[in-house]
Amino acid sequence: MPGKLKVKIVAGRHLPVMDRASDLTDAFVEVKFGNTTFKTDVYPKSLNPQWNSEWFKFEVDDEDLQDEPLQITVLDHDTYSANDAIGKVYIDIDPLLYSEAATVISGWFPIYDTIHGIRGEINVVVKVDLFNDLNRFRQSSCGVKFFCTTSIPKCYRAVIIHGFVEELVVNEDPEYQWIDRIRTPRASNEARQRLISLMSGELQRKIGLKVLEMRGNAVVGYLQCFDLEGESGLVVRAIGTACTLDKLSSPAAFLPACNSPSKEMKEIPFNEDPNPNTHSSGPSTPLKNQTYSFSPSKSYSRQSSSSDTDLSLTPKTAPYPQGPRIYLCPSSPSLSCGSLHLKKSCLLLSESSLPPHHSSLVSPVLRKSVSFSEELFLAASGMGSGSAGKEGGPFKALLRQQTQSALEQREFPFFTLTAFPPGFLVHVGGVVSARSVKLLDRIHNPDEPETRDAWWAEIRQEIKSHAKALGCHAVVGYSESTSICEEVCILSASGTAAVLNPRFLQDGTVEGCLEQRLEENLPAGCGFCHIPYDELNMPFPAHLTYCYNCRKQKVPDVLFTTIDLPTDATVIGKGCLIQARLCRLKKKAQAEANATAISNLLPFMEYEVHTQLMNKLKLKGMNALFGLRIQITVGENMLMGLASATGVYLAALPTPGGIQIAGKTPNDGSYEQHISHMQKKINDTIAKNKELYEINPPEISEEIIGSPIPEPRQRSRLLRSQSESSDEVTELDLSHGKKDAFVLEIDDTDAMEDVHSLLTDVPPPSGFYSCNTEIMPGINNWTSEIQMFTSVRVIRLSSLNLTNQALNKNFNDLCENLLKSLYFKLRSMIPCCLCHVNFTVSLPEDELIQVTVTAVAITFDKNQALQTTKAHVEKSLQRASTDNEELLQFPLELCSDSLPSHPFPPAKAVTVEKTSPMGEGNFRNRSAAPCANSTVGVVKMTPLSFIPGAKITKYLGIINMFFIRETTSLREEGGVSGFLHAFIAEVFAMVRAHVAALGGNAVVSYIMKQCVFMENPNKNQAQCLINVSGDAVVFARESELEVVSTQQPAANCQPACTGGEVTT
């Protein structure tokens, strides 16, 4: 099904002088798509040419439309010699391929050259006519929407969240091809940029196909990454969450899906590996790969939580046939597979009715491998589904098992989302992660990227089994990353094990009745903290208490997650950024020896990072981490670990105990004095932090809670070695046993250093807060000023006396100083909060450490107490929550007799009104951009999924750009700092220009995924690769929204003006 791409070259401006003699340029433009090229006339002797070309028309396949970028080259005509290239513009036309996004791309684009940077601008208009509109979803994946945002996009509603999609494509890296020896750096860079652009187009199309197969229409939380494997090639991989989204203004679209549930059943191909042998090492490499997790499966039970017994509701009979039927309709591939699932789901149903001891009995056997456990279950109980259904176990358990089996059908029940519709997340188990060290080998056949696929599949299996060990059937906030050094590669994956509510995972027919009851019984603000695993049979030693909020169910003493703080969570005080930083020296080695050395170091690093996080969390007086991201970076002679998370005090979790210091030689008087001095300092810090973050939980009488009184325990020491009780070498006990107070034993200088480093972390200056999640718990009165920034630092370590301590200190100082610099630079924005602080560490060379930070500073209103502001805040909150409801409400819910009470925080509670205060009409014309009277329209950029004080009215498409910049005159360009500063500024400019050309005025969920910087000062050279992505959107200020409704005609013509059009 072909399409017609139309391109018009309007004009250029600020072109560079290409002819020294006349100080002018004779510019013309080549427009290339696929293999077709058009040229404009030469516009002689001008730096501001007006080509005003005809429409160049390309008739192409939609497959090409998806894969290929439009390539515009500006050249200087030269009569006698070859024409000189001025620069290029690559335009991704994907946003034009689905109807709801942009309809035209029109605006000024910076002309970019990989050697000279931006050289002037060009005004281009691009349109696409897709033929056969009706049929266009059939053959290619045109029409599947992509979002980088890791939550359901603001103006959509999730009908179904289908699940994990992944894909990877590989190719040879042009930089390493033989031809690179004879071509210019420019040609090489351009080949690379073009290839990556092509590959990401292809990847996106393939992912789109998978989504269509699942009957979805969108990918949310789309994360695409490049692995520059050097000699062995170039890998582009992506993960995301397939969803069926529904635009909020058209609620009717939901109904068809509802009426045809049988179709939906095919949503997932039954491609589950029948024998997922998780613990076997990858066959492709000789290397023994080690994978392990935070929350290892010490002993696990398939028994879904027994703590739900209070929830015994008599189920209606109607849903029963439904449940199994969903899984009974397998897609054609294998009937046997389908029946297996049938059995399994039945089994699970019946299992819930078995006495708990039964499951604990089988569990030790189950530990060996996942596949085995399933077979065992099948053998153990071959009953039909009918009986199970009639038995009618606890309703919620049933519900969960439905979900569970629904999820287990999927190869990987993973979700890249970090924020969820209310009620989606039932319980959170904890962080699961897996890493694996691989040796890179040349990819021989790019069309068959089996090795890389197998590597990732392995890791994902590992994650899946860890989640199971935690009694969870799904993993949320899932992400993957790599770190490459020479031929060694560390693959990492992490996420949060969770139990999900099935209503978003399948079609909606069952929900009407289920949901209602469920929600009535879900305790507000603490449900997700309740343990999903069996209390009597815990996967790891943890100290459980009754939930401080509802007092009915058990909660752990600390909770680590990779997701954002759920909106309904009850938090006391404010949160703060917590980082653990760690370096480990490693001997230089080759290939396998190197990989082995790294594998051996990894567990210790994970352990120490975890310990540091725990200590710092306690020091802050908090009990939960959100948005946890642990990055392990491999270099020639060291490994770096950096964990960032946002610490909060969850009201549902117990008050954290303090940190106690124990000396090793208790007889020494002066030593003891020193110890007690340290102890005092720590206690003071904790007290100070509690005050700083306003943590003052209500006092609770002891007997209700159980036994949080610290018992003096002999074994409450930090376990510095691997847990001996763990029989798998790769498993670590990171939970530190059951203890209330944390005891740090100072037995050597190392430990002393650790304690010192704990205390050296300086809190941000007053008026500043920081977090790495979307929003800061405890602050909600944001004002509209935002400043997104990227900061990069590289330090050179003195090669002398490199010890682990010195390294740690250097690294710690680097990060701390960087943060201090940020606070200083942004001091004019006080009071403000640094949100979504994202640190990336890389080790470009032997003694170089590079840290890249991207974050956004948002101002907020300090005077919450003032009545006026309060009213305003409440109003906006109310509006926000109304929006939420609109986003998430199901039509079915609307017609149900009783309104479900949503677990909103008290402040938002007053939002029962279903009809938005702003009518539908208002929603349509939000494209009005606050284009001030400046000549260039302002484009905001933020790593968050929202813009404070504004409403996103339209998503225009994904921005995914890759740039290379190289210089052979580093000194002249201001050294490395000048070079990189200019390049990053240029990247921002190009992102903004593309967004403006799409008619947008902001980029949300912006992320700089890669910033690879290489220098060779001796040769006066440097090269940098940057990969960024985000969602182009149109937003309107809330204050303007009211105005817009009265000025509809005016608003309609607005978008055209936002395209960076010059008004003078």
Partner: protein
């Protein structure tokens, strides 16, 4: 541990006004950091010297990158690389083109050539302004001069349009360009007491009344070059001092009008012939380039200094000059002035800001 690379790039380019000022003043990063430390910023913010150093470096780098765009301010508005709010853009431009009084007095009326640029070291030493800052200011003058040199239309408008300066600053630049173009001598010791403002005031009136633009608004260089025809016509004023009768008549007219109004009436009466001769001589010599250049020197010597030695108050000088030029109109032979001179006469009499020769000068020429 040394920092190899240290950058901060905001989506909105951060501009620190204080650092910008230090940069414009030509301080090195080190000096700027020292000055900032002295300002007490560390105590206010709790930052460390290293943080300040990094911050200063970063701002300096940003300014350095912006400088290229500041050379053609409209580019700053249209460029896409740095997102800067319009108010900040205006501030950047205005501050960049601002200049030091001390510096401008040194180069005012000098040819904006390489030769002068070489002398900037001396000016720097003399004025205490850093050489870097001197260079920037000098280059600004030269750049503005080059751009508007051959343009049609009002000088001030051209400058405003091409450099987006405020009205006030554009007028100052017009004066600088006008002085540089006509190479008026302003550096003599005798003229040292005059401020740039004084000269700028004169320049404005001269542009209004003495240039081609005053007659015809559609000529090249209209506000830059003096109207040759007009200067030629001024020769005819010679009769005011050459013709004894006319001189006496003129004197009597002035004296009658001013009797009782001037505190220095007797001195004026006694000196009238000398003063008139001085003024007229200055005017009639203006056909020679050399004398044009010395205009201000001559005026001070021939008119200002005599007045000053008699302790004329400013108001008296003003009254006298007004009357001096007004009376001429009632003299025979001056009723039918050449056409070219008319517009000059039509202008209102200038009011000197201080005892400045410029004001007077205009008065006399009008006559």
């Amino acid at each position: 541990m040394t920092s190899e690379l240290d950058i901060f790039v905001g989506n909105t380019t951060l501009i620190d006004e204080d650092v910008y000022r230090l940069w414009l003043d030509g301080y090195s990063v080190g000096d700027a950091v020292a000055l900032r430390v002295r300002s007490g910023i560390l105590e206010q913010t709790g930052a460390t010297a290293a943080v300040l150093q990094s911050d200063t470096m970063d701002h300096y780098r940003t300014f350095h990158m912006l400088e290229r765009l500041l050379h053609a301010p409209p580019k700053l508005l249209h460029q896409l690389i740095y997102q800067i709010p319009p108010s900040r853009q205006a501030l950047l431009i205005e501050r960049y083109y601002a200049f030091d009084e001390a510096f401008v007095r040194e180069v005012l009326g000098k040819k904006l050539s390489k030769g002068t640029k070489k002398d900037l070291d001396d000016i720097s030493t003399k004025t205490g302004i850093t050489l870097k800052s001197c260079r920037r200011q000098f280059d600004n003058f030269k750049r503005v001069f080059k751009v508007v040199e051959e343009m049609r239309g009002s000088l001030v408008d051209n400058i405003q349009q091409h450099f987006l300066l405020s009205d006030r600053l554009a007028r100052d630049y017009a004066a600088i360009v006008f002085f540089a173009n006509n190479r008026f001598e302003t550096g003599k010791k005798k003229l040292q007491y005059l401020s740039f403002g004084d000269f700028a005031f004169c320049a404005e009136l001269m542009i209004q009344n003495w240039t081609l633009g005053a007659v015809d608004s559609q000529v090249d260089d209209m506000d830059m070059d003096l109207d040759k025809e007009f200067l030629q016509d001024l020769k005819e004023l010679k009769v005011l001092v050459a013709d004894k009768d006319l001189l006496d008549l003129h004197k009597s007219l002035v004296c009658t009008a001013l009797r009782g109004k001037l505190g220095v009436f007797s001195e004026m009466e006694a000196n009238f012939k000398n003063l008139s001769r001085g003024l007229v001589n200055v005017a009639t010599k203006l056909t020679h380039n050399k004398d044009v250049r010395d205009l201000f020197v001559d005026l001070v010597e021939k008119f200002v200094e005599p007045c000053r030695s008699d302790h004329w108050p400013l108001s008296d000088v003003r009254l006298f000059l007004n009357q001096y030029s007004a009376s001429v109109h009632s003299l025979d032979g001056f009723r039918n002035l050449p056409k070219a001179v008319r517009p000059h006469l039509a202008a209102p009499p200038p009011l000197p800001q201080r005892v400045s020769p410029c004001g007077h000068q205009r008065g006399c020429h009008k006559t």
